[in-house]
Amino acid sequence: MTDSNQNTTLATRGLSIGYQQGTAARCIAKDLNVSLEAGEFVCLLGPNGVGKSTLIRTLAGMQSPLSGQVQIAGSNFQDIPPRERARLVSVVLTETAPIGMMDAYTMVSLGRHPYSGRFGSLSVEDRERIEWSFDAVGARDLAQRQVAELSDGERQKVSIARALAQATQVMLLDEPTAFLDLPRRVELMSILRNLAHKEKLALLLSTHDLDLALRFADRFWVLTPEGQLIQGYPEAIAMSGDFAKVFASENLDWDASVGSFRAHPTPCLSAKVNGDGTAALWTKRALERLGFGTTEDNASAVFSIEIHDESRWEIERNGQTHDFDTIDDLIDWIQLQDWSQSPPT
């Protein structure tokens, strides 16, 4: 649905973002040179408060850059008049529902404002695009509903349909999945990825849902607290130490070997787990949650767990053995023990 043959749809040139406070400027990130291509789904990641929204607002032209340029299809975004801009870039924000009794169709039709006349009357073409947008997010049945009465997930779909109705080359989404439950988040991410690929949209989505981003994004932009923007393929960034640097905190650590974050990176006590398969995986997760590390070394383990046939757990501690038929019983037992007397490893 885009007219552009150019690959690079959005690019920044020495862009510095931040806020002007009186005469002083608070710079969030500077000298950013990144690009967003048509047909790719990029996730913008970064810890809370690092300035993801500021970057999105600056790219969308809602906020002036401190210095540098945002270029859309080769021209400086700041020089493009508002109506033209609205035909190039659309946004989806966390902002809540519109006020008043507005049905979803009316809300999506507002996306046609950059094309409609003085009083916003809709042409046949406008109506076709609106209906196409509803179909594209699978929300045709929501058209006649009041927006105020939709669930968060439904409202976010309508919001994306509204942005699609704008028929832009670039779509910027600021934490659209923030208030959704997991199935809704997965659904939304796959809708967005398909749109980027099929419609050759350049799509940028900010999120702090790393897990989901790893599964769906074509590329990552990672905004660091130091104000740098790292870009690359998700796996490359996950393997490099960048994630660890950006997201690590006192009680959370990025574990590149399993591709997720780990709580309590420095457990005091360790246990040894023998076994494999699903049961072993979740047993280790349970131990980790309860504050135990896992070790292969018998000497440093305060107890060991042997898993038989993925359905029977045998714990050995101080020469005594205990049998459990379910993981519930196992966890209950671990929690009931007094571990304070155990020698630290």
Partner: protein, 328 residues
Amino acid sequence: MLAALSASIGSVTLPLDAVLKTLTGSTDVDPVMRQIILDFRLPRILTALLAGAALGTAGLLMQTVFRNPLADPFVLGVNSGASLGVALVLLALAPVGISLTEGLGASGQLLIIFASSAGAAATLFVVLLLSRRVDVMSVLIIGLMISYTVGAIVSILMFFSMAERLQSFINWSFGDYGNVSWSHLRLFAPAILSGIIVSILFIKPLDALLLGESYAQSIGTNTKRCRLLVLLAASILAGTVTGFCGPIGFLGIAAPHLSRYLCRTSSHRVLIPASILIGALLSLGSDFVSRGPGLDVVLPLNAITALVGAPVIIAALVKQRNMKRLFG
């Protein structure tokens, strides 16, 4: 129909057929009656209709711009500004020996109109000047604060005033459509019509603003310019009404809510005409009731607008069960 009824009620009750005959151009009516109808009742009715339309529209504009169901046409302080202007004339100038308003003669009436319009304009100017750099919520609060400040000055003026002066100020604050003559209407009507025309020109950006300023901007709306011009139009509408008729409360907040309730939409293409119509009807109805059919007295218009309007809004809300379904 309501207009004809309204024309027959007043300090002298006129027979309805005389009213209808006069209005249809027949000369077969008592010339005194004819004069009362044409020179006093008709301007009053037109004023009531125009004022109601103006307040309904202004209220709708304010509620949309501020995204607040409690916003009314006077949130930027035009009302308190106008009352300061009038208080200065009625209360402060009096001790100096200037008493142009004795008996509320024609020139005194004009002075009141001038004073309240000037007061409203001055307040509006200050609020808009202070509001240039802040977000829309702050504009609302600045408007409120200026209102309180100006209201406080009026209170101090009242404290130092003589009882009879106070009485004429209080009478002004009751609101009255009866003080607008044909010659006043020549100024009153164009001011209100131009305000309404401006708001019709802003139908599209107003719809966009329903999504919030960020979204409005992203679909190509020049939000700063739109906000300024719409606030200006709304305040001119409200200020003009206050200038000529005194502070008329409630209509401005009631008419847009009733329009939303009756039309079940948020589109300004529907809501602006609906607010104009409902505002005008509520206004005329309130005036009719305040003239007290069958009574000898004229009740304060301001009290009647609220007495008539508030129950209607409450009923609408109770029926809708919650504000969200009506306003979002």
